[in-house]
């Protein structure tokens, strides 16, 4: 078993049992959603729908509705694309790279971080798709035989590499995420009370039963997928950076782009994870699982990657001078002192200065401070992409064509809309999905749970009488007992309970004899009131419990009879 040093801070606070973990995670799924959830979901949905409207308008009218011009022919959409892809990187980094490094603290956040990845990459993918203008021929990015002679794609083009990288990344991340979800869906399935939830979660859980062999495979699949996803996550943002680095535009033509983009991506992704987690842990009361230590670990990652990004900025500046290429030098001078100085300045402050504050232990353990910095970093990273893309091209080789970029309402609407859509998906995820990897967290309970580490947890008591309960089962259908109990309780929920004291003479209902009355009493039906509340659904439920005289209650219309008998009684 995994042993952890005693001085290491526990990952799960307080005393929890395996059952507590299940309860804590399932509570938000099984209970009613609070009003705040509906409000937040509603707002996100409205913004998202506005974004969809903007996209539809854009598709109907054309790319001319964007603020692009002859000089700045690539601006807002690619900025947003890179920003979203970058955010996505943290999820895979947490679930894959930290798995390979055996970082146990990842288990509390990997599920939600990876959900973020999937939704973020999905948002990112929208931008190149709508940039095609004709969305319905989007399949042209796939090499398929076609009627235009042998017209193939250009596999030398980084833009095509991007298609393969992003789609592989999206689908492999999804598979990785889903394979981890299956056992947790099974947990929810086995606890579900309502038939709809039961049905839905059994469909989602693929019939997972948790056999030893399956867990054995599960662990290997997770490990190999992590091994595959690790180079994948580095390749994706490297390839995104090739979109720029392989061109000869001064400011883009840089060999340090791939590592610089990857660390920037991880930097912005972790900031987004912080934003989401800080709200999530409070909203779902998961403070025992995602606590200050987790936030601190993530802040350290933000600090390290932020510093790498800072070094990259300075390296770029140095190289632009040291290379002796005057166009390069101009591109960087223009960035810092030209008309877009404010974008450059906000990028430098948000991305270079703010992560350095994390050196102070007090600050990186402060939740409020972390939340503010996470938002600042997200803004900063958006500006980084904007600076790289727009300032490099808006003053090109020909001063007469120099120009500025002004986003139109469509530009802004589509961008804001993707944020709305992202949060719509995320809110739905938070409501219906296990936000913590239940089965994984259980594996670290004994090694990293606070009460197990300091010895206050009650030791496992051996059962003195040895066998607490031996289920004597002779009959074949004993395994349906649970199901029957469930059915009875749902039947009772609908028609109400009563006791033998209030017993009416059910034999007065035509069709009910002494034998059947006994059966009904056995289920817990004693009064006419209960019978009168029955409808088709309850009849069927009752028939499936008693397995006697199916359809009889409906045919004889017991409910109506019971109502009449009640009236007579009064």
């Amino acid at each position: 078993m995994h042993k952890e040093s005693a001085i290491r801070e526990p990952l799960i606070l307080g005393h929890k049992t395996y059952h507590d973990i299940t309860e804590d995670v399932c509570r938000s799924i099984e209970g009613k959603a609070p009003k705040t959830w509906y409000i937040m979901f509603g707002i996100a949905l409205l913004i998202g729908l506005y974004g969809v409207g903007c996209i539809l308008y854009l598709l109907g009218t054309g790319i001319g509705t964007w603020g692009l011009n002859k000089t700045v022919e690539w601006a807002w959409d690619i900025t947003n694309f890179v920003w979203w892809v970058g955010i996505g990187h943290a999820g895979t980094l947490i679930s894959a790279v930290l798995l390979l490094f055996r970082q146990k603290w990842r288990m509390a956040i990997n599920r939600s971080a990876e959900a973020m990845t999937i939704f973020a990459v999905f948002m990112a993918g929208l931008f190149p798709l709508i940039h095609m203008g004709r969305l319905w021929v989007g399949y042209w990015v796939v090499p398929i035989p076609n009627q235009y002679g042998s017209l193939w794609l250009n596999f030398n083009s980084p833009l095509l590499w991007d298609v393969f990288a992003i789609s592989t990344y999206l689908s492999v991340s999804f598979v990785f995420w889903y394979i981890g979800l299956i056992p947790d869906f099974a947990t929810i399935r086995d606890r579900a009370k309502s038939p709809v939830a039961k049905k839905a979660y059994s469909l989602l859980s693929f019939g997972w039963s948790g056999r030893a062999k399956h867990w054995n495979r599960f662990e290997i699949v997770s490990l190999v997928l992590a091994g595959l996803a690790t180079p994948l996550v580095f390749s994706v943002h490297s390839i995104v950076s090739f979109d720029f680095a392989t061109s000869i535009v001064p400011g883009w033509h840089t060999t340090i782009f791939p590592p610089y983009f990857v660390s920037g991506a991880v930097f912005s992704g972790f900031a987004m994870v912080q934003t989401l987690m800080l709200v999530l842990r409070k909203g779902l009361k998961l403070e025992a699982y995602i606590h200050t230590k987790h936030i601190e670990y993530m802040n350290i990652v933000i600090m390290v990657t932020g510093s790498i990004v800072g070094v990259a900025y300075l390296t770029e500046l140095f190289m632009s001078w040291y290379s002796g290429v005057e166009y390069e030098a101009y591109a960087f001078l223009n960035r810092a002192t030209g008309p877009y100085w404010w974008a450059y300045a906000s990028m430098m402050t948000c991305n270079v200065v703010s992560p350095q504050l994390m050196w102070f232990k007090k600050l990186r353990r402060s939740l409020m401070f972390t939340f503010i910095i996470s938002i600042v970093v997200n803004i900063g990273m958006w500006f980084e992409r904007f600076v790289i893309i727009v300032t490099s091209i808006h003053q090109d080789y020909l001063p007469s064509s120099w120009s500025m970029f002004h986003p139109t309402w469509v530009d802004i609407g589509v961008y804001v809309g993707t944020i709305g859509l992202f949060f719509t998906f995320y809110m739905a995820y938070v409501r219906y999905f296990p936000v913590l990897a239940i089965s994984e967290v259980k594996t670290i309970l004994k090694s990293s749970g606070e009460s197990y580490k300091n010895g206050t947890a009650p030791l496992h008591k051996s059962h003195d009488e040895k066998v607490v309960e031996v289920v004597a089962s002779e009959s074949d259908n004993s395994d349906q007992d649970d199901e029957t109990t469930n059915k009875i309780s749902s039947l009772m929920d609908k028609i109400g309970t009563s006791t033998a004291d209030e017993k009416d003479d059910l034999k007065l209902i035509s069709g009910v004899g002494p034998k059947l009355e006994e059966v009904l009493n056995g289920i817990g039906i004693f009064t006419f009131v209960q019978v009168s509340k029955m409808t088709k659904v309850e009849y069927d439920l009752m028939d499936s419990i008693t397995k006697t005289f199916p359809g009889r209650a409906e045919r004889d219309n017991w409910a109506e009879q019971a109502k009449e008998l009640m009236n007579k009684q009064n």
Binding site: V175, S205, A212, R217, T443, V467
Partner: protein, 181 residues
């Protein structure tokens, strides 16, 4: 006669591991253990062999690699060579550097999906499949051993019960085995 199966329930992962060790030492064959999370070290005790899914992933990866290279060679070199900015495009080897990203992505795509699909098929976990864990709490906090009477015919039923009860058990049930999948 239907096959009889004994379900022995435990409430702790370490306890079930100790119990399994003890039972196996006594010569009892445990067919399977249902647990809410992977119990580390249980596989060698009850004789679950190491999975070969890693090898499957490797071969799917190879397939993806080969497909990508063959495809790009056909599209870019054989079928319709294009002169794009004078970049070398007359042999696969010369053009290989710019084929590496797609080759890599395709390898990962095939290895990841191939392994995942194999995993789901081998587990018989597919959309719409019924679950066959004997008790719903085995996905929460219960650990259940599945012991077939027919696997342990050297013991009498009572003997078998006695031996299982000697471990730190919380519930024991014997019933007809019903194959669900």
């Amino acid at each position: 006669m239907a096959e009889r199966v004994i379900y022995a329930m435990y409430d702790d992962d370490d306890v079930v591991k100790d119990a399994a060790k003890k039972l196996v030492a006594n010569g009892i064959h445990i067919r399977d253990i249902f647990s809410p999370f992977p119990i580390h070290g249980i596989d060698p005790i009850i004789g679950v062999k190491h999975t070969r899914l890693g090898i499957v992933a490797f071969f799917f990866g190879l397939l993806g690699l080969a497909l990508a290279l063959f495809g790009m060679r056909y599209f870019m070199i054989v079928d319709w060579p294009m002169n794009i900015g004078g970049k070398p495009n007359f042999s696969l080897l010369e053009n290989l550097p710019s084929f590496i990203p797609v080759t890599f992505e395709f390898t990962v795509l095939f290895a990841g999906h191939g392994m995942a699909i194999t995993y789901l098929l081998r587990n018989k976990t597919l959309p719409g499949m019924p679950a066959d864990n004997p008790y719903p709490r085995t996905t929460d906090d219960r650990f259940v051993m599945e012991i077939f009477v027919s696997d342990n015919e050297q013991f009498s039923i009572d003997d078998l019960h006695e031996k299982i009860k000697a471990t730190d058990i919380i519930q024991l049930e014997e019933k007809d085995y019903k194959k669900i999948k």
